[in-house]
């Protein structure tokens, strides 16, 4: 079986999980779950935030690392830029937000690619720093209330029917998909995930690409932060919430292997959708929030077992075909 085919089958199997989750809830509560309103709401309004953060996590994982500092970077950058956006000084707001993202991304990237610190411990410490600084900066002064103009970057519609936040996410998706699948950057990224040394000795820009991954993550965090300001109408440290865990879970459920070098942003999107639909469905069903995490866990475990079974079946089938 060629790699390409195997990846397609993996992806398909994740789609099936998503389908099963959706069909399950649809059967249980058709009137609420199946409404166009509900589906668009989950897909276009709730998932984008998880997806954007999970994109970053996925890039880090594909390169053979991990990035647990994104959600804190997001909190800090949204805090620092919030008042500019509130005052209508969009330029400064963008500069500050992306500046912070870029700064922490660079810091991570340099620690990992140049100083050669393990990605986990580097981003773990940077997570402390970013969140710590956010606490210092915030000091209980929340920023609340943004102009409708600003908020329309999330709620507005450049294209009828599709909220801008979904559009932005789609654009990011398209860019990342293109970057990872069609460019030198992407080729190096995957190569790195499999074998750092060989990648370096082939004369690829391995350090540069690692730096690029974490800088991208910083910028993604900043972007998500701005979108959150607009969606929540406030700067709020609690948005960090479970985003780190959710983005790891999205990557895992989506089928991106932690050893690096496999999977794509498509997997991430599917993984995020699975999680958000589970949340949505369980909210709708009125199931206690306590159960949500357990169910997500069961789905993760189910996904791997199910994929194994599927793969074995495929191998059997392929084997028969050969004989």
């Amino acid at each position: 079986m060629s790699v390409k085919k195997k990846n397609q089958i993996d992806l398909l199997s994740r789609f099936l999980i998503l389908a099963v989750v959706c069909v399950g809830f649809a059967l249980l509560r058709p009137e609420a779950f199946l409404s166009v309103d509900n589906i668009t709401q989950v897909v276009f309004q709730q998932t984008p935030f998880t997806i954007l953060m999970a994109f970053g996590m996925s890039l880090a994982i594909i390169s053979g690392g991990i990035d647990i500092s994104m959600s804190s970077t997001m909190v800090l950058s949204s805090y620092l830029s919030a008042s500019y956006f509130q005052q209508g000084n969009y330029f400064m707001g963008l500069v500050v937000a992306f500046g912070v993202g870029l700064g922490f991304g660079l810091f991570n990237g340099v620690l990992i690619s140049k100083v050669k610190i393990e990605p986990f411990i580097a981003t773990f410490s940077v997570d402390f720093m970013a969140l710590g600084l956010a606490y210092v900066v915030c000091n209980g002064e929340y920023v609340y209330g943004f102009s409708d103009g600003f908020r329309s970057i999330v709620n507005g519609y450049l294209i009828p029917g599709i909220p801008n936040v979904a559009l932005v996410t789609f654009l990011v998706f398209a860019v990342l998909y293109f970057l990872t699948r069609r460019t030198i950057y992407g080729r190096t990224l995957y190569s790195l995930g499999h074998n750092k040394k060989a990648t370096k000795l082939s004369g690829m820009h391995s350090d540069g690409v690692i730096l690029g991954v974490y800088v991208t993550n910083g910028l993604l965090a900043a972007l998500t932060g701005i979108l959150y300001l607009a969606r929540l109408n406030a700067a709020d440290p609690s948005i960090r919430g479970t985003l780190t865990n959710d983005s790891i879970a999205s990557a895992l459920i989506g089928g991106i292997a932690f050893c690096g070098g496999t999977g794509s942003v498509v997997n991430t999107v599917i993984g995020s959708m699975i999680i958000m639909f589970i949340r949505n469905g369980m909210n709708i069903m009125g199931v206690s929030t306590n159960w949500q995490q357990a169910v997500v866990g069961f789905v993760i475990l189910f996904a791997i077992v199910y994929e194994r079974v599927l793969n074995n079946l495929m191998a059997k089938y392929a084997g028969k075909g050969n004989k």
């Binding site: 409404s35 709401q41 709730q46 929340y142 209330g145 929540l232 948005i239 009125g286 306590n290």
Partner: protein
């Protein structure tokens, strides 16, 4: 405990008085970033200045559930090490803090509970705060009145297991008994988070598009819910109540995005907490419970509730 204000022996063996000679009071709060607690800290500090005591406010580094109690434990021990004269304690976790409080008491340092009760009330000299059950009850009642005594209700809970959240829900349910025409259709947690409340409320609105009101266990979640309602284009149709009356909520109330909230006056709680501690230290008689009044805030008193 000893209520007479003597230095007392303590485990660190150190005298309690610092260079300036005033007595030391440590105030341990739940977190250092929420406006509610910052206001409480300001109140405590102000009282210390007025009464001539050194007040030091300490909070856990992490605001998350997990580490909060562990870090408060560490702060309790630190107070013992520093040999302070009195500890004003606002526990993250009512039950889990008990052994730490016990250690403070064992070191002959009196404890005043602030805002949230201790699991073992015999450990504290007095409790300063408000009855969250009562606050929940009054808020809910005000909300139900505005609903005209009938309709459907959704509760947005705080972090699962948080005492304040549990109490406020209890208060709300008590009020529900008095309004048989109001039906509770769902109750879900959004972890005291604005972002989560936004998603949860959005999801619930799919199931219950005709719901009449949300009862939220704090303002953050009320604000998140307000955004969900706004996104659904139902601002003004669906009522939302919060708790705490923080600045954002007051703005939202003025804009008509939320219907009401209630004010527990955190500044006053902090202030009264230190006053009670001073009473304990000076050997004045202390009551078991200093109640800080709560006030329902709606559009009628939104500009004036702090002055009254």
């Amino acid at each position: 405990g000893c209520g007479n204000g003597s230095d007392g022996g303590n485990a660190a063996g150190d005298g309690g008085e610092n260079a300036e000679g005033g007595k030391n009071i440590t105030v341990i709060l739940k977190n250092s970033t929420a406006p509610f607690f910052i206001s409480m800290a300001e109140g405590a500090q102000a009282a210390g200045e007025e009464l001539g005591y050194n007040v030091e406010v300490k909070t856990p580094v992490d605001t998350a559930e997990g580490s909060g109690n562990e870090q408060q434990n560490q702060l309790c021990d630190e107070a013992i090490v520093n040999g302070v004269d009195c500890v004003v304690l606002c526990p993250v976790d009512t039950e889990a803090i008990v052994p730490a409080a016990q250690r403070i008491v064992d070191a002959d340092i009196p404890v005043v509970a602030l805002n949230t009760r201790l699991g073992d009330e015999s450990l504290c000299e007095t409790f300063v705060g408000l009855e969250n059950v009562q606050q929940g009850y009054e808020t809910a009642k005000a909300l139900f009145e505005k609903m005209g005594g009938k309709g459907t209700l959704i509760i947005i809970e705080g972090s699962t297991g948080a005492q304040t959240s549990l109490d406020r829900i209890e208060g709300c349910k008590k009020a529900l008994e008095e309004y048989p025409d109001i039906e509770l259709v769902a109750s879900q947690s959004a972890n005291y988070s604005r972002a989560e409340a936004l998603n949860v409320a959005q999801n619930l609105l799919q199931s219950y598009p005709d719901v009449d009101a949300f009862f939220c266990c704090n303002d953050e979640m009320a604000l998140g819910t307000a955004e969900a309602v706004d996104a659904a284009g139902k601002t003004g149709e669906i009522m939302i109540s919060g708790q705490d009356a923080n600045d954002d909520a007051v703005s939202a109330l003025k804009e008509g995005k939320i219907t009401l909230t209630s004010w527990g006056d955190p500044y006053m709680q902090g202030y009264e907490g230190v006053v009670a501690a001073v009473d304990v230290l000076e050997g004045n008689e202390v009551k078991e419970f200093y109640e800080v009044s709560t006030k329902v805030v709606d559009e009628t008193n939104v500009d004036s509730f702090k002055d009254e």
